[in-house]
Symmetry: C2
């Protein structure tokens, strides 16, 4: 069996890249639902439906374990997928998210005033607040939705003055709250972590999900040999997208980084 990684678009490739750095030997299947990206502004009903479609597809592709490398899907659908869908249909398979790994880091850092930035859906779901309260109930949490960051990053406008201006606007209320750490609650944000750091201030600890998810996945497999022993280790990688166009191919290279420039062509699947 393989490890599946799902994202609403291609931002999850940055999570996959970090996972492969830590666990290079396994076989990976990536699915990006870029025909229906972004999920961020959609209702929980629709997000659950889309996520279930994706999980179903990856199970059919022989994935024994799936990482929902999408904060919106993780925050809005993971619990229901685990409790309703898996329990009934696939009791021996696992679906994990990207929220818990970042949240556990908050506990390790013993952070007291935690900022969280993400899409509307992630922020409105209050998933980070709920999860942080479980792990580290003393922490105070301050959220801020940053809806324009994803389109700006996807446009490659990373050095544009407008990005700096909107970051100053979005981060101002968090600065005022004197946060000591900041969770980048969206896969895209890792790509502008240094810009976020320079605006929020160097004393604030930035928590990026890719690295934390990779570390926690390694721990998980060590603790669950009944899952681990079923996983193939041929270093195979498959990439599926629900829409294939030049702009997305360019973005795929951008997210995968230089090391992954020569990955095989993305495969189109109809939704």
């Amino acid at each position: 069996m393989k490890i599946g990684v799902f994202d609403s678009g291609l931002g999850g490739l940055s999570i996959l890249r970090e996972i492969i750095k830590v666990l290079p030997d396994y076989d990976y299947v990536y699915l990006g639902d870029n025909a229906r990206v972004p999920y961020g502004g959609r209702s929980d009903k629709v997000i659950y439906q889309f996520t279930k479609n994706a999980v179903d597809f990856l199970f059919k592709k022989n994935c024994g374990l799936i990482v929902l490398a999408c904060n919106t899907a993780s925050s809005m659908s993971l619990q229901r997928i685990q409790q309703e869908y898996l329990a009934k249909n696939y009791p021996d398979r696992r679906v994990l998210g990207v929220i818990k790994p970042a949240v556990e880091k908050v506990g390790e850092l013993q952070a007291k005033r935690v900022g969280v930035i993400g899409t509307y859906a992630t922020v409105n779901s209050k998933a980070f607040i709920r999860e942080i309260k479980k792990v580290y109930p003393k922490a105070q949490i301050f959220q801020k939705a940053c809806p324009l960051l994803v389109p700006i990053i996807e446009e490659g406008e990373i050095d544009w003055i407008g990005l700096k201006l909107i970051l100053e606007k979005y981060l101002a209320p968090l600065k005022k709250k004197k946060i000591d750490s900041l969770i980048l609650g969206c896969t895209h944000y890792g790509l502008i972590a240094n810009k976020i750091q320079s605006i929020i201030g160097k004393d604030v600890r930035i928590i990026t999900e890719g690295i934390e998810t990779a570390i926690k996945l390694k721990d998980y497999l060590a603790r669950h040999p009944e899952i681990e022993f079923k996983l193939l280790k041929n270093k195979a990688r498959e990439f599926y997208v629900t829409d294939l166009n030049l702009r997305f191919l360019k973005m795929a290279r951008f997210f995968l980084g230089k090391k992954f420039r020569n990955f095989k062509d993305l495969t189109f699947i109809s939704i």
Copy 2:
């Protein structure tokens, strides 16, 4: 039979508003595919599939004539919908777009150097170039994709300095070409027409699709009594969306304008 208006999101409501101003007596059915918005960055294959779904839905809702109030759908799918889908399945019904009305205005103005702004998909389709060449072959056309305008407008960041900066960036190459008219090739752009005018200069004629589409639809019905006589005139309005959430309800009010504040609740349909 009713008049259907389709858009990938809610931007088409601004077109519907203009149509209702000119033709208030007819029955209208609006469909916004906001579960899968935006179409702008997607491939022609996926856009055709989504548009066909929408047309199908509106025909089932008893629409005899549909306006594709979405530039992406109009430019990528209208011709195929008319030639393949309608001809085969619904030879007595009609589907019109928003591109031709704006293009005919270019001919009326005898514009010589025409700018066109829109999404990636609209610009890459070259639909405006193709259509303008038919109507007015002497015109020179200069296109520019403006991918960040829709997310900024949908965030309501209309008075934000970043909008001015990105407009200056997007419009600079068109200013350099000394255009005499500018087609706003996206339903959203009508909402910032005055900002566009102030940056492109007061001598450039701005062509907005809503007004042109409404005028041309009135002409069309006058020329096609065989369609017109089938249309109901009870002033009924129905609104369907593929995703229902608070943010979209807020946007609906924003697009419909003050007069339409008390429209009935949007109806959710599953896609």
